[in-house]
Symmetry: C2
Subunit: 185 residues, 2 copies
DNA sequence: CTTTGCATGTAAACCGTTACATGATTTT
DNA sequence: AAAATCATGTAACGGTTTACATGCAAAG
Protein backbone atom coordinates (compact mmCIF):
# COMPACT_ATOMS: atom_id res chain seq x y z
CA UNK A 1 0.00 0.00 0.00
CA UNK A 2 2.90 2.31 0.70
CA UNK A 3 4.14 4.21 -2.33
CA UNK A 4 7.59 4.98 -0.83
CA UNK A 5 9.01 5.49 -4.35
CA UNK A 6 12.21 3.49 -4.45
CA UNK A 7 15.56 4.61 -5.77
CA UNK A 8 16.84 2.93 -8.94
CA UNK A 9 19.43 1.21 -6.77
CA UNK A 10 16.71 -0.31 -4.58
CA UNK A 11 14.91 -1.52 -7.69
CA UNK A 12 18.10 -3.05 -9.03
CA UNK A 13 18.40 -5.02 -5.80
CA UNK A 14 14.80 -6.17 -5.96
CA UNK A 15 15.29 -7.29 -9.54
CA UNK A 16 18.45 -9.16 -8.72
CA UNK A 17 16.78 -10.97 -5.85
CA UNK A 18 13.95 -12.03 -8.12
CA UNK A 19 16.57 -13.31 -10.58
CA UNK A 20 17.88 -15.58 -7.86
CA UNK A 21 20.78 -13.53 -6.53
CA UNK A 22 19.85 -13.75 -2.91
CA UNK A 23 22.82 -12.48 -0.87
CA UNK A 24 24.43 -9.05 -1.03
CA UNK A 25 27.57 -10.67 -2.28
CA UNK A 26 25.82 -12.46 -5.14
CA UNK A 27 24.04 -9.29 -6.19
CA UNK A 28 27.36 -7.49 -6.47
CA UNK A 29 28.85 -10.33 -8.52
CA UNK A 30 26.10 -10.34 -11.10
CA UNK A 31 26.03 -6.58 -11.48
CA UNK A 32 29.79 -6.60 -11.97
CA UNK A 33 29.74 -9.14 -14.75
CA UNK A 34 26.59 -8.31 -16.64
CA UNK A 35 25.42 -4.78 -15.92
CA UNK A 36 28.69 -3.01 -15.21
CA UNK A 37 28.72 -0.91 -18.35
CA UNK A 38 25.30 0.61 -17.74
CA UNK A 39 24.93 0.34 -13.97
CA UNK A 40 27.33 -0.03 -11.04
CA UNK A 41 26.82 -0.72 -7.38
CA UNK A 42 29.08 -1.03 -4.33
CA UNK A 43 28.82 -2.92 -1.05
CA UNK A 44 28.49 0.44 0.65
CA UNK A 45 25.10 0.76 -1.04
CA UNK A 46 24.00 -2.85 -1.07
CA UNK A 47 24.06 -3.78 2.60
CA UNK A 48 22.38 -0.66 3.98
CA UNK A 49 19.80 -0.83 1.20
CA UNK A 50 19.03 -4.48 1.97
CA UNK A 51 18.28 -3.43 5.53
CA UNK A 52 16.08 -0.57 4.42
CA UNK A 53 14.17 -2.81 2.04
CA UNK A 54 13.64 -5.34 4.78
CA UNK A 55 12.38 -2.67 7.16
CA UNK A 56 10.06 -1.47 4.43
CA UNK A 57 8.73 -5.02 4.14
CA UNK A 58 9.71 -5.53 0.51
CA UNK A 59 12.20 -8.32 1.16
CA UNK A 60 12.63 -10.88 3.92
CA UNK A 61 16.02 -12.05 5.11
CA UNK A 62 16.80 -15.46 6.48
CA UNK A 63 20.06 -16.39 8.14
CA UNK A 64 21.65 -19.34 6.36
CA UNK A 65 25.22 -19.68 7.55
CA UNK A 66 27.62 -21.87 5.59
CA UNK A 67 29.52 -23.53 8.38
CA UNK A 68 30.70 -20.74 10.66
CA UNK A 69 30.34 -18.09 7.97
CA UNK A 70 27.46 -15.68 8.37
CA UNK A 71 25.16 -15.42 5.41
CA UNK A 72 21.77 -13.80 4.95
CA UNK A 73 19.59 -14.92 2.10
CA UNK A 74 16.83 -12.59 0.95
CA UNK A 75 13.63 -13.17 -0.93
CA UNK A 76 10.88 -10.88 -2.18
CA UNK A 77 7.72 -10.46 -0.17
CA UNK A 78 4.40 -9.93 -1.91
CA UNK A 79 4.84 -6.20 -1.44
CA UNK A 80 8.30 -6.50 -2.98
CA UNK A 81 6.95 -8.34 -6.02
CA UNK A 82 4.33 -5.66 -6.44
CA UNK A 83 6.83 -2.83 -6.12
CA UNK A 84 9.10 -4.41 -8.71
CA UNK A 85 6.23 -5.01 -11.11
CA UNK A 86 5.11 -1.43 -10.72
CA UNK A 87 8.51 -0.19 -11.74
CA UNK A 88 8.66 -2.63 -14.65
CA UNK A 89 5.37 -1.33 -16.01
CA UNK A 90 6.03 0.59 -19.22
CA UNK A 91 5.88 4.15 -18.01
CA UNK A 92 7.52 6.71 -15.78
CA UNK A 93 10.69 8.74 -16.08
CA UNK A 94 13.84 6.69 -16.48
CA UNK A 95 17.30 7.73 -15.34
CA UNK A 96 19.60 8.22 -18.28
CA UNK A 97 23.05 9.70 -17.74
CA UNK A 98 26.23 9.77 -19.70
CA UNK A 99 29.51 11.24 -18.52
CA UNK A 100 32.22 11.12 -21.12
CA UNK A 101 35.45 12.95 -20.45
CA UNK A 102 36.71 11.89 -23.88
CA UNK A 103 34.00 14.01 -25.51
CA UNK A 104 34.85 16.83 -23.15
CA UNK A 105 38.44 16.82 -24.35
CA UNK A 106 37.32 16.80 -27.95
CA UNK A 107 35.01 19.70 -27.13
CA UNK A 108 37.97 21.77 -25.91
CA UNK A 109 40.44 20.72 -28.59
CA UNK A 110 40.48 24.08 -30.38
CA UNK A 111 44.02 25.33 -30.88
CA UNK A 112 45.71 22.06 -29.95
CA UNK A 113 48.33 20.40 -32.11
CA UNK A 114 46.33 18.14 -34.50
CA UNK A 115 48.75 15.30 -33.72
CA UNK A 116 47.67 15.45 -30.09
CA UNK A 117 43.99 15.53 -30.97
CA UNK A 118 44.43 12.53 -33.24
CA UNK A 119 46.31 10.62 -30.53
CA UNK A 120 43.45 11.34 -28.16
CA UNK A 121 40.81 10.15 -30.62
CA UNK A 122 42.80 7.01 -31.26
CA UNK A 123 43.06 6.29 -27.53
CA UNK A 124 39.33 6.71 -26.99
CA UNK A 125 38.54 4.49 -29.94
CA UNK A 126 40.91 1.83 -28.61
CA UNK A 127 39.21 1.98 -25.24
CA UNK A 128 35.76 1.16 -26.62
CA UNK A 129 37.24 -1.52 -28.82
CA UNK A 130 38.74 -3.15 -25.73
CA UNK A 131 35.41 -2.95 -23.89
CA UNK A 132 33.59 -4.48 -26.86
CA UNK A 133 36.10 -7.30 -26.98
CA UNK A 134 35.79 -7.92 -23.26
CA UNK A 135 32.00 -8.04 -23.46
CA UNK A 136 32.14 -10.38 -26.45
CA UNK A 137 34.29 -12.71 -24.41
CA UNK A 138 31.72 -13.03 -21.64
CA UNK A 139 28.71 -13.49 -23.93
CA UNK A 140 29.00 -17.29 -24.05
CA UNK A 141 28.71 -17.42 -20.26
CA UNK A 142 25.32 -15.74 -20.12
CA UNK A 143 22.81 -18.40 -19.18
CA UNK A 144 20.17 -16.30 -17.46
CA UNK A 145 16.60 -17.13 -18.31
CA UNK A 146 14.72 -14.76 -20.56
CA UNK A 147 16.11 -12.44 -23.23
CA UNK A 148 16.89 -9.45 -20.97
CA UNK A 149 20.40 -10.15 -19.72
CA UNK A 150 21.64 -11.34 -23.10
CA UNK A 151 20.09 -8.39 -24.92
CA UNK A 152 21.61 -5.97 -22.42
CA UNK A 153 25.01 -7.52 -23.05
CA UNK A 154 24.47 -7.37 -26.79
CA UNK A 155 23.59 -3.73 -26.41
CA UNK A 156 26.95 -3.22 -24.73
CA UNK A 157 28.79 -4.98 -27.52
CA UNK A 158 26.97 -3.17 -30.33
CA UNK A 159 27.26 0.16 -28.58
CA UNK A 160 30.99 -0.14 -28.04
CA UNK A 161 31.47 -1.24 -31.62
CA UNK A 162 29.53 1.79 -32.74
CA UNK A 163 31.64 4.00 -30.48
CA UNK A 164 34.83 2.52 -31.90
CA UNK A 165 33.69 3.38 -35.40
CA UNK A 166 32.55 6.87 -34.51
CA UNK A 167 35.84 7.79 -32.89
CA UNK A 168 37.74 6.31 -35.80
CA UNK A 169 35.79 8.40 -38.27
CA UNK A 170 36.35 11.45 -36.08
CA UNK A 171 40.05 10.72 -36.28
CA UNK A 172 39.90 10.57 -40.07
CA UNK A 173 38.02 13.83 -40.19
CA UNK A 174 40.55 15.66 -38.05
CA UNK A 175 43.42 14.13 -40.01
CA UNK A 176 41.86 15.32 -43.26
CA UNK A 177 41.34 18.84 -41.95
CA UNK A 178 44.87 18.95 -40.56
CA UNK A 179 46.17 17.74 -43.93
CA UNK A 180 44.21 20.40 -45.80
CA UNK A 181 45.43 23.15 -43.47
CA UNK A 182 48.58 21.73 -41.92
CA UNK A 183 49.97 23.08 -38.70
CA UNK A 184 52.89 25.45 -39.12
CA UNK A 185 56.18 23.93 -38.10
CA UNK B 1 54.18 24.17 -10.07
CA UNK B 2 51.43 22.64 -7.91
CA UNK B 3 50.02 19.43 -9.32
CA UNK B 4 46.77 19.61 -7.31
CA UNK B 5 45.09 17.19 -9.74
CA UNK B 6 41.81 18.83 -10.67
CA UNK B 7 38.39 17.25 -10.80
CA UNK B 8 36.78 16.89 -14.22
CA UNK B 9 34.34 19.58 -13.14
CA UNK B 10 37.20 21.99 -12.49
CA UNK B 11 38.66 21.21 -15.91
CA UNK B 12 35.30 21.78 -17.54
CA UNK B 13 35.23 25.22 -15.99
CA UNK B 14 38.77 26.02 -17.11
CA UNK B 15 37.90 24.93 -20.63
CA UNK B 16 34.77 27.01 -20.71
CA UNK B 17 36.64 30.08 -19.53
CA UNK B 18 39.21 29.62 -22.26
CA UNK B 19 36.33 29.34 -24.75
CA UNK B 20 35.20 32.78 -23.67
CA UNK B 21 32.52 31.91 -21.13
CA UNK B 22 33.75 34.11 -18.38
CA UNK B 23 31.04 34.29 -15.70
CA UNK B 24 29.54 31.39 -13.75
CA UNK B 25 26.24 32.10 -15.40
CA UNK B 26 27.66 31.92 -18.91
CA UNK B 27 29.43 28.66 -18.17
CA UNK B 28 26.17 27.10 -17.06
CA UNK B 29 24.41 28.34 -20.21
CA UNK B 30 26.92 26.83 -22.59
CA UNK B 31 27.07 23.50 -20.78
CA UNK B 32 23.28 23.34 -20.85
CA UNK B 33 23.00 23.89 -24.57
CA UNK B 34 26.00 22.06 -25.94
CA UNK B 35 27.33 19.52 -23.49
CA UNK B 36 24.20 18.54 -21.59
CA UNK B 37 23.95 15.04 -23.02
CA UNK B 38 27.48 14.04 -21.97
CA UNK B 39 28.17 16.38 -19.05
CA UNK B 40 26.05 18.37 -16.62
CA UNK B 41 26.87 20.98 -14.04
CA UNK B 42 24.90 22.98 -11.49
CA UNK B 43 25.38 26.38 -9.90
CA UNK B 44 25.98 24.58 -6.64
CA UNK B 45 29.19 23.29 -8.16
CA UNK B 46 30.17 26.23 -10.33
CA UNK B 47 30.40 29.07 -7.83
CA UNK B 48 32.33 27.24 -5.10
CA UNK B 49 34.64 25.75 -7.74
CA UNK B 50 35.33 29.18 -9.25
CA UNK B 51 36.45 30.32 -5.81
CA UNK B 52 38.64 27.28 -5.31
CA UNK B 53 40.24 27.74 -8.71
CA UNK B 54 40.92 31.37 -7.96
CA UNK B 55 42.51 30.48 -4.61
CA UNK B 56 44.62 27.88 -6.41
CA UNK B 57 45.79 30.63 -8.77
CA UNK B 58 44.44 29.02 -11.94
CA UNK B 59 41.93 31.73 -12.73
CA UNK B 60 41.67 35.40 -11.88
CA UNK B 61 38.36 37.14 -11.23
CA UNK B 62 37.60 40.73 -11.97
CA UNK B 63 34.49 42.53 -10.81
CA UNK B 64 32.64 43.98 -13.79
CA UNK B 65 29.19 45.04 -12.66
CA UNK B 66 26.55 45.81 -15.29
CA UNK B 67 24.84 48.80 -13.78
CA UNK B 68 23.97 47.83 -10.21
CA UNK B 69 24.18 44.11 -10.97
CA UNK B 70 27.18 42.27 -9.53
CA UNK B 71 29.19 40.33 -12.03
CA UNK B 72 32.57 38.64 -11.78
CA UNK B 73 34.44 37.89 -14.98
CA UNK B 74 37.17 35.25 -14.86
CA UNK B 75 40.16 34.59 -17.05
CA UNK B 76 42.85 31.94 -17.03
CA UNK B 77 46.20 32.66 -15.45
CA UNK B 78 49.37 31.17 -16.92
CA UNK B 79 49.09 28.36 -14.39
CA UNK B 80 45.50 27.81 -15.49
CA UNK B 81 46.50 27.59 -19.15
CA UNK B 82 49.17 25.07 -18.24
CA UNK B 83 46.81 22.97 -16.13
CA UNK B 84 44.26 22.87 -18.93
CA UNK B 85 46.87 21.95 -21.52
CA UNK B 86 48.14 19.17 -19.30
CA UNK B 87 44.70 17.65 -19.11
CA UNK B 88 44.21 18.05 -22.85
CA UNK B 89 47.40 16.11 -23.55
CA UNK B 90 46.49 12.74 -25.06
CA UNK B 91 46.86 10.46 -22.06
CA UNK B 92 45.50 9.67 -18.64
CA UNK B 93 42.40 7.88 -17.45
CA UNK B 94 39.15 9.42 -18.62
CA UNK B 95 35.86 9.31 -16.77
CA UNK B 96 33.30 7.29 -18.67
CA UNK B 97 29.97 6.49 -17.09
CA UNK B 98 26.63 5.40 -18.38
CA UNK B 99 23.52 4.94 -16.27
CA UNK B 100 20.57 3.65 -18.22
CA UNK B 101 17.47 2.63 -16.35
CA UNK B 102 15.86 1.62 -19.65
CA UNK B 103 18.46 -1.12 -20.05
CA UNK B 104 17.91 -2.12 -16.45
CA UNK B 105 14.22 -2.66 -17.11
CA UNK B 106 14.99 -4.71 -20.18
CA UNK B 107 17.44 -6.71 -18.09
CA UNK B 108 14.67 -7.64 -15.65
CA UNK B 109 11.92 -8.18 -18.22
CA UNK B 110 11.80 -11.97 -17.80
CA UNK B 111 8.27 -13.16 -17.15
CA UNK B 112 6.59 -9.87 -18.07
CA UNK B 113 3.75 -9.64 -20.53
CA UNK B 114 5.43 -9.16 -23.95
CA UNK B 115 3.03 -6.32 -24.67
CA UNK B 116 4.45 -4.44 -21.71
CA UNK B 117 8.03 -5.11 -22.73
CA UNK B 118 7.28 -3.89 -26.25
CA UNK B 119 5.62 -0.75 -24.91
CA UNK B 120 8.72 -0.10 -22.82
CA UNK B 121 11.08 -0.57 -25.77
CA UNK B 122 8.95 1.73 -27.87
CA UNK B 123 9.03 4.42 -25.17
CA UNK B 124 12.81 4.26 -24.85
CA UNK B 125 13.23 4.43 -28.60
CA UNK B 126 10.94 7.44 -28.77
CA UNK B 127 12.93 9.15 -26.09
CA UNK B 128 16.22 8.96 -27.99
CA UNK B 129 14.46 9.98 -31.17
CA UNK B 130 13.21 13.10 -29.41
CA UNK B 131 16.71 13.87 -28.09
CA UNK B 132 18.19 13.42 -31.57
CA UNK B 133 15.59 15.77 -33.01
CA UNK B 134 16.23 18.35 -30.34
CA UNK B 135 19.98 18.21 -30.94
CA UNK B 136 19.50 18.48 -34.70
CA UNK B 137 17.47 21.61 -34.12
CA UNK B 138 20.27 23.36 -32.28
CA UNK B 139 23.02 22.37 -34.70
CA UNK B 140 22.64 25.45 -36.90
CA UNK B 141 23.26 27.66 -33.87
CA UNK B 142 26.71 26.27 -33.15
CA UNK B 143 29.20 28.93 -34.09
CA UNK B 144 32.05 28.06 -31.74
CA UNK B 145 35.50 28.18 -33.25
CA UNK B 146 37.22 24.90 -33.97
CA UNK B 147 35.68 21.53 -34.73
CA UNK B 148 35.21 20.34 -31.11
CA UNK B 149 31.80 21.73 -30.15
CA UNK B 150 30.22 20.84 -33.47
CA UNK B 151 31.69 17.36 -33.45
CA UNK B 152 30.48 16.78 -29.90
CA UNK B 153 26.99 17.81 -30.97
CA UNK B 154 27.18 15.58 -34.01
CA UNK B 155 28.21 12.75 -31.73
CA UNK B 156 25.04 13.35 -29.75
CA UNK B 157 22.89 13.31 -32.86
CA UNK B 158 24.48 10.19 -34.32
CA UNK B 159 24.44 8.42 -30.99
CA UNK B 160 20.78 9.10 -30.36
CA UNK B 161 19.93 8.01 -33.88
CA UNK B 162 21.84 4.81 -33.28
CA UNK B 163 20.02 4.31 -29.99
CA UNK B 164 16.67 4.83 -31.67
CA UNK B 165 17.49 2.11 -34.18
CA UNK B 166 18.82 -0.29 -31.60
CA UNK B 167 15.73 -0.04 -29.44
CA UNK B 168 13.51 -0.39 -32.47
CA UNK B 169 15.28 -3.56 -33.52
CA UNK B 170 15.02 -4.86 -29.95
CA UNK B 171 11.29 -4.24 -30.17
CA UNK B 172 11.08 -6.24 -33.39
CA UNK B 173 13.03 -9.07 -31.84
CA UNK B 174 10.76 -9.29 -28.81
CA UNK B 175 7.69 -9.04 -31.01
CA UNK B 176 8.97 -11.90 -33.17
CA UNK B 177 9.69 -14.08 -30.17
CA UNK B 178 6.31 -13.29 -28.61
CA UNK B 179 4.66 -14.12 -31.93
CA UNK B 180 6.50 -17.44 -32.16
CA UNK B 181 5.60 -18.35 -28.59
CA UNK B 182 2.56 -16.21 -27.80
CA UNK B 183 1.50 -15.52 -24.26
CA UNK B 184 -1.38 -17.62 -23.01
CA UNK B 185 -4.60 -15.66 -22.74
C1' DC C 1 3.92 46.79 -14.72
C1' DT C 2 4.94 42.15 -15.22
C1' DT C 3 7.65 38.61 -16.95
C1' DT C 4 11.87 36.89 -18.49
C1' DG C 5 16.69 36.89 -18.27
C1' DC C 6 21.03 38.02 -15.91
C1' DA C 7 23.70 37.09 -11.96
C1' DT C 8 25.35 35.17 -7.53
C1' DG C 9 25.36 32.40 -3.90
C1' DT C 10 24.35 28.84 0.29
C1' DA C 11 22.52 24.79 2.94
C1' DA C 12 20.70 20.51 3.17
C1' DA C 13 19.98 16.37 1.35
C1' DC C 14 21.26 12.63 -1.36
C1' DC C 15 23.99 9.39 -3.67
C1' DG C 16 27.94 6.75 -4.35
C1' DT C 17 32.80 5.23 -3.86
C1' DT C 18 36.81 4.03 -1.26
C1' DA C 19 39.11 2.37 2.37
C1' DC C 20 39.03 -0.18 6.18
C1' DA C 21 37.92 -4.10 9.25
C1' DT C 22 36.87 -8.90 10.13
C1' DG C 23 36.85 -13.64 9.61
C1' DA C 24 35.58 -18.30 7.53
C1' DT C 25 36.13 -21.56 3.65
C1' DT C 26 38.04 -23.47 -0.43
C1' DT C 27 41.56 -24.05 -3.73
C1' DT C 28 46.30 -24.36 -5.05
C1' DA D 1 50.88 -22.82 4.06
C1' DA D 2 49.31 -19.34 1.21
C1' DA D 3 46.15 -17.32 -1.83
C1' DA D 4 41.70 -16.72 -3.56
C1' DT D 5 36.95 -16.55 -2.73
C1' DC D 6 32.87 -16.07 0.18
C1' DA D 7 30.58 -12.99 3.14
C1' DT D 8 29.27 -8.85 5.80
C1' DG D 9 29.55 -4.53 7.23
C1' DT D 10 30.91 0.69 8.57
C1' DA D 11 32.98 5.39 8.35
C1' DA D 12 34.75 8.96 5.95
C1' DC D 13 34.89 11.35 2.09
C1' DG D 14 33.55 13.51 -2.04
C1' DG D 15 30.59 14.86 -5.56
C1' DT D 16 26.03 16.49 -7.25
C1' DT D 17 21.38 18.07 -7.14
C1' DT D 18 17.66 20.66 -5.20
C1' DA D 19 15.69 24.14 -2.94
C1' DC D 20 16.02 28.38 -1.34
C1' DA D 21 17.27 33.36 -1.18
C1' DT D 22 18.31 37.76 -3.33
C1' DG D 23 17.97 41.47 -6.49
C1' DC D 24 18.85 44.26 -10.91
C1' DA D 25 17.92 44.95 -15.95
C1' DA D 26 15.59 44.48 -20.16
C1' DA D 27 11.69 43.41 -22.93
C1' DG D 28 6.93 42.91 -23.64
Amino acid sequence: MSTTSLSPTARLILGMIRMGRRTGYEIKQLVDVSARFFWTISYGQIYPELKRLEEAGLIAGESQPTGGRTRTVYSLTEAGETALDEWLAPDGELVWELRDEGLLKLFFSEGRDPEDVIAHLRAVSARSEAVAEQLRSIRPDVDEPGPGPLMALEFGIAFNEWLTDWWRSAEERIAREAGAAPARR
